[in-house]
């Protein structure tokens, strides 16, 4: 079954090895002090700072072609891809399966990048630089994607992947309407649907697998919540059910549609749910100031904290890997926010508010 890759062919998982390496890498991520320093630097200083850290190889490789915050961003992406590819390379058996499941979101990212690039008529190298080669797709497949001449070719080349069926369907809609939304939705939907597919639907609550499933559900819930909040805030005349992702436990399709109509009800529902405690302060902020950005950052922080908690509770499971993946993603987001913020001339305080730091 090509869906889960061949590397998992019935072998036992090697948790010990992967987790020792992952923990070491988790420890060497940037900490508060580094961020505090970075926030006060200019873009070129940030680039120089990064040359002396973990990101040295990528900065040197890309330094000739880019400068400023573009350089920082592409170096970050490449580094992220390198680390996450390592994870897939090390892990075996069920562990591989668990990790690949989550990392497929970068496959989704790449597919969307290509589709957008083709739609906007961007040139090949621009598309290639935006790739994050961290997902399960092989090098050849990503190269084939890049070389595709039209969106139709992209859809065809993804025929045998998880995105195949839904993309083919969406392509017909795209041909009629000539807008990208159905294609992008199809990609996201395919990713989130396979996220929970094939995992035990009712695992023991207190086992590592159970918590992993719980975590993925939380991810789906938060995604739904974000979509609902955005729709509720923007007041757009879109049917929320169209963006609903199955598998979470917070909403079902109908309740989501009803709640989106009324912001206060939505917040109240979340407060009464299992996530209420973690999101309490964020929800208050949302009610008072109505700041969606702040709330979304609180969601990220809550997810990160939850993953950290899991990783200490179940040291020999997929949880530490998950916590590393999230932490690394946040680091990349943070540094990008700093670089872009400095470029745009934001003050250190303003930028610090944009960061997700535990």
């Amino acid at each position: 079954m090509s869906l889960y890759g061949t590397a998992s062919g019935g072998r036992a998982s090697n948790y010990e090895y992967v987790i020792a390496r992952v923990r070491s890498r988790r420890a060497s991520l940037f900490d508060d002090d580094d961020y505090r320093k970075l926030v006060r630097m200019g873009t070129s200083e940030i680039a120089r700072f990064m040359e002396e850290t973990e990101y040295e190889t990528e900065m040197n490789a890309l330094g000739a072609r880019y400068s400023g915050s573009d350089l920082v961003e592409y170096a970050l992406n490449r580094n992220l891809a390198k680390h996450f590819d390592d994870l897939l390379e090390w892990s075996e058996g069920a562990l591989y399966n668990y990790i690949a499941r989550y990392l497929r979101k970068f496959d989704a990212w790449n597919v969307k990048t290509v589709i957008r690039g083709l739609y906007a008529g961007a040139d090949l190298s621009a598309i290639e630089d935006d790739f994050i080669r961290a997902g399960e797709f092989s090098e050849q497949r990503v190269d084939a994607l890049r070389n595709a001449g039209s969106i139709e070719e992209v859809v065809e080349s993804l025929d045998d992947t998880i995105f195949g069926a839904s993309l083919a369907e969406a392509y017909e809609v795209y041909e009629e309407q000539q807008v990208l939304v159905p294609l992008e939705n199809a990609v996201d939907r395919a990713f989130y649907e396979t996220l929970l597919d094939g995992l035990p639907s009712n695992p023991e609550r207190d086992s590592a697998t159970g918590l992993y499933v719980q975590f993925l559900r939380a991810e789906v819930d938060f995604r739904n919540l974000r979509n609902a909040l955005r729709l509720a805030r923007s007041g757009a005349e879109t049917d929320p059910a169209e963006y609903y992702i199955d598998g979470g436990k917070l909403f079902d399709q109908q309740s989501l549609t009803q709640l989106t109509a009324n912001m206060d009800n939505l917040v109240a529902t979340v407060r009464d749910s299992t996530y209420g405690d973690d999101l309490d302060s964020a929800l208050s902020a949302l009610e008072d100031a109505g700041s969606l950005v702040e709330f979304e950052r609180a969601l990220d922080a809550a997810l990160l904290e939850y993953a950290d908690k899991l990783s200490t509770r179940y040291p020999l499971s997929v949880c530490p890997v998950l916590s590393y993946i999230l932490a690394k993603e946040r680091e990349v987001d943070n540094i990008r926010a700093i670089a872009r913020g400095r470029e745009a001339g934001l003050s250190p305080d303003e930028i610090e508010q944009e960061l997700v730091i535990l």
């Binding site: 090697n14 010990e16 090895y17 992967v18 987790i19 020792a20 390496r21 070491s24 890498r25």
Partner: protein, 86 residues
Amino acid sequence: MIETIAPVVNAVLQEGTAAAPAIPPSAAAALAVGLAALGSGYAERGIGAAAVGAVAEDDSMFGRGLILTVLPETLVILALVVVFVV
């Protein structure tokens, strides 16, 4: 089935009165050492994998990794005492 075996076993056991036990002491001691070695081998498998992972990330972990990897070896050493006791 078990009921039928019991008298047979009894008969066999009663037959040799000066009987040597099925496993003589030295063989039992050897077994004890062997089983202990198996156990520590299994323990070292996980620790070794983790240690190699740690060393791959950070060379200075080599000494500590080595010590932690051979710690379960004490099981075998303790089991070796049995050989001298018997």
